[in-house]
């Protein structure tokens, strides 16, 4: 039952969820804000692929890269226009703002494109399969694993070796003290939104390619998964987010093969039971270590 195929698919799903959770926790770490507009960055990147793909003459790799960068840009813009003006106000103001941004972006595509789903073109490689040692695996899943390895390595280097990364880790722990070092608050916050948006963009490429379509509500499911993964792994560190993503992927795939066929439609219900158990017995998540709760003011 647990064979190579299962292993690769689980690592792949876990990788995708890890990136997803990481993007949410990046912003949470600095602002202590659960950004409910996070899913919309994924949705927006999907529409960027739809629009660029629609031209017909844009090479697919340009389309995908542009979509990822566009998600980062939209994330940065929301920080600038929506979050920055209310940052020093109450936490509730920030939370409500994130809902407002989410509703705005959903309705923006609903009005300018369509309320209905749109087909997004992907290169054939995304739908091909490969046989490795007798296991049939979608190429897409291998691409996810590859992208995740590259991204996690890059992010680790940025966070450990660059002064901006060190400043971001410091700011997640003690924001005011970091400013006392001369690190501009706006620089750190903008950087986190850009990284968060970039991760959302990468996730979007793989998320949207599953159904090869995008609609205004595409972002809600990934947001929920990111949220659950961070509850499982721990909200207070980047490591926790990655662990949470992989644990979510593993639990999900285990439920998929272990539940009897009649119960499979209750998979999400089982998932939520696990989450509730976590909230009851280990609310801080699997990875306890991490930064404090200082608010940005």
């Amino acid at each position: 039952m647990i064979d190579l195929e299962f292993a690769i698919n689980t690592i792949s799903l876990g990788s995708l969820y890890a990136l997803l959770a990481l993007g949410l926790v990046f912003v949470y770490g600095i602002l202590k804000l659960i950004n409910f507009a996070y899913g919309e960055y994924i949705m927006i990147a999907g529409y960027a692929m739809y629009v660029l793909g629609g031209f017909g003459y844009v090479p697919w790799y340009v389309t995908l890269l542009a979509a990822v960068l566009f998600a980062a840009l939209v994330s940065y813009t929301t920080e600038l226009v929506a979050f920055r003006p209310v940052r020093t106000k109450s936490m509730t103001a920030m939370l409500v703002t994130s809902f407002a941004v989410s509703i705005f972006l959903q309705n923006f595509v609903l009005i300018t494109v369509s309320p209905r789903a749109r087909a997004v073109k992907f290169p054939p490689v995304f739908s091909q399969t490969l046989t490795i040692a007798g296991a049939t695996v979608p190429v897409r899943n291998l691409l996810i694993i590859g992208s995740t390895v590259v991204l996690l390595t890059l992010l680790t280097i940025v966070m450990k070796k660059t002064v901006l990364g060190i400043a971001m880790r410091a700011a997640a722990d003690k924001f005011t003290t970091t400013r006392l070092m001369g690190v501009p608050a706006n620089l750190v916050i903008s950087a986190t939104f850009i990284i968060s948006g970039f991760l959302a963009g990468v996730v979007s490429v793989f998320w949207v390619s599953r159904s090869a379509s995008v609609d205004p509500l595409t972002g809600s499911m990934p947001l929920l998964i990111a949220f659950i993964a961070t509850v499982l792994g721990g909200m207070h560190s980047l490591q926790g987010a990655v662990i949470g993503g992989f644990v979510y992927g593993l639990l999900f795939n285990l439920l998929s093969i272990m539940l009897p066929a009649t119960m499979i439609s209750y998979r999400d219900a089982f998932m939520f039971v696990i989450v509730i158990l976590f909230l009851l017995f280990r609310p801080e998540g699997i990875w306890r270590k991490g930064y404090t709760e200082e608010r940005v003011g």
């Binding site: 060190i166 400043a167 410091a170 006392l180 070092m181 001369g182």
Partner: protein
């Protein structure tokens, strides 16, 4: 170099400092004394920009800095060692020091300054790659001071550097403050331990319930202010007694 005039600052509705004026000259070591809640830390926070003054002015070399952000003020040359040390526990000693140099980073100078810090605080060289959170209280205080010095501040502000340290470590920190002052660093020191502070400073200000009670040299202060009544709460209204 630093001139604070008629400074008002508050936390929300609670006014913590009302109408404080003080001055620090180049090369001076000045203390702000007073009991808990007298407004010492609040004054430092207002000078460093962490707390925005409601009223009054903060001038550095004749330039108004009262409405600047903390990150801009440290670039102007004022560095604060916050109360309770506030080092980055999850970051290594090296990373803490690197951030300390953020305000005025220059590769060659950074190496130079690191060597200087290793000279002042040999323990930091030993612990260079360890997490700051694993250091002892005294070592953390040293790291916090070294981190502040990495920006080559013109004015170093220390908020209760001896708080929670053993007597031996307190001695070491006070010796260090004297050393720094001899090196030419201008220092504004906030201390609860008035007796100790008065042994080393040039001048001192005494705060009580948010306003200035007395200013003068340590000798004048010892002569005219009954410090035991200040710290042991001799007066019922909790202000101190000034014998003139």
């Amino acid at each position: 170099m630093l001139k604070v005039e008629n400074l008002y600052a508050s936390y929300g509705a609670i006014r913590a400092v009302h109408g404080i004026s003080l001055e620090v000259a180049e090369g001076e070591l000045v203390a702000l004394l007073g009991i808990n809640g007298a407004g010492k830390s609040t004054t430092l926070k207002a000078i460093s920009g962490v707390l925005r003054p409601i009223q009054g002015s903060v001038m550095l070399y004749g330039e108004e800095i009262g409405n600047r952000k903390p990150e801009a003020i440290v670039k102007k040359g004022i560095s604060l060692v916050p109360e309770g040390r506030d080092i980055f526990g999850g970051l290594t000693v090296e990373e803490n020091l690197r951030l300390g140099a953020f305000a005025s980073y220059d590769r060659a100078r950074y190496k130079e300054d690191l060597e200087e810090m290793f000279g002042l605080f040999p323990i930091l060289k030993e612990r260079f790659h360890q997490a700051g959170g694993l250091l002892s209280g005294g070592e953390q205080q040293m790291l916090a001071i070294a981190r502040a010095l990495m920006s080559r501040p013109k004015l170093l502000m220390l908020d209760e550097p001896s708080l929670g340290l053993s007597p031996a470590m307190t001695d070491q920190i006070f010796e260090l403050i004297v050393t720094l002052r001899e090196r030419g660093t201008t220092i504004l020191l906030v201390e609860q331990n008035a007796e100790r502070a008065l042994e080393i400073v040039d001048r001192a200000y005494l705060l009580a319930t948010g306003s200035l009670e007395f200013a003068g040299t340590p000798d004048e202060m010892k002569r005219k202010v009954d410090l035991t009544s200040v710290y042991l709460g001799g007066d019922e209204d909790e202000t101190c007694e000034v014998r003139l």
